[in-house]
Amino acid sequence: MDLTLFMYLIPSLIMFGCGVYGFITRKNMIAIMISLELMLNSVDINFVVFNRYLFPGQLEGMFFSLFAIAIAAAETALAIAIIINVFRIAKNVDIKQITKLKF
């Protein structure tokens, strides 16, 4: 039995589906960020697996994952700063009740 490319793409696909489901159904801002991290993580797995299986002599996918991790860290830090600021003003982080930004 061999570990094929396919066997790594299936868990990654399911992880992405869970991220989409959580992103749409969650109402808490921090839970939405967690779902977003799931989606980013599954895309990172795809880059690395395609790099290793299809182009094992190069490192493009690995560097793409590395930069994606760095950008995800920056984006999470900023988003959490915004969430804490919103919490300070509106006293909760529920997207149903924070409607002042709507026109």
Binding site: T4, L9, Y21, T25, A31, F63, A73, L78
Partner: protein, 171 residues
């Protein structure tokens, strides 16, 4: 032909990824959701180690599990009372989410199955890269060099530091 230990490790990691990512988006308590996300990130790091990308696995553990998860836990502690459940979802949004997720998974799964010969490739014992080569690639301006994105990321991180301080500062 893979070794038996590698296959067993693969199945443990795959089942852990599937179970914990479903639990991450279905649990009611937000702190448990963050903990399950931590398990998913560790399983991903094990996949990177299995692919012989040791540096990427170390970065995954250090940045994601060590940095982002701590940030999430701090944000949860600052904005929630402990033991506080999320309210039940309205049925409309749950059906919308389920439809979108299942449609996406179905389309991508169909695409995967229709490229069966391509998806059945096995790993070829290519040259593994050590840390010296990764550093050379990261700081070179040649054909496969990544100096420009490296510098762009450093500027982005600086902007992110300044933005975080300005946004979260108490006026």
């Amino acid at each position: 032909m893979e070794s038996v230990g590698n296959i067993i490790l693969y199945f443990i990691v795959a089942i852990a990824i599937i179970v914990f990512s479903v639990l991450t988006v279905t649990t009611r308590k937000i702190l448990r959701s963050a903990t399950y996300l931590l398990f998913v990130l560790f399983a991903t790091a094990i996949i990177y180690f299995q692919m012989d990308y040791e540096f990427l696995g170390a970065v995954q553990i250090a940045v994601y599990a060590g940095g982002i998860l701590v940030l999430f836990v701090f944000a949860i502690m600052l904005t929630h009372r402990p033991g506080h459940d999320a309210e039940a979802l309205t049925s409309h949004r749950r059906w919308l989410g389920l439809t979108a997720a299942l449609a996406g998974v179905g389309v991508c799964g169909y695409a995967l199955f229709s490229y069966a010969d391509f998806a059945g490739k096995v790993i070829t014992s290519g040259s593994t890269f050590d840390m010296v080569q990764i550093g050379r690639f990261l700081l070179s301006t040649d054909k496969y060099g990544y100096l420009l994105p490296f510098e762009a990321i450093s500027v982005l991180l600086l902007a992110c530091i300044i933005g975080g301080v300005v946004i979260a500062r108490r006026r």
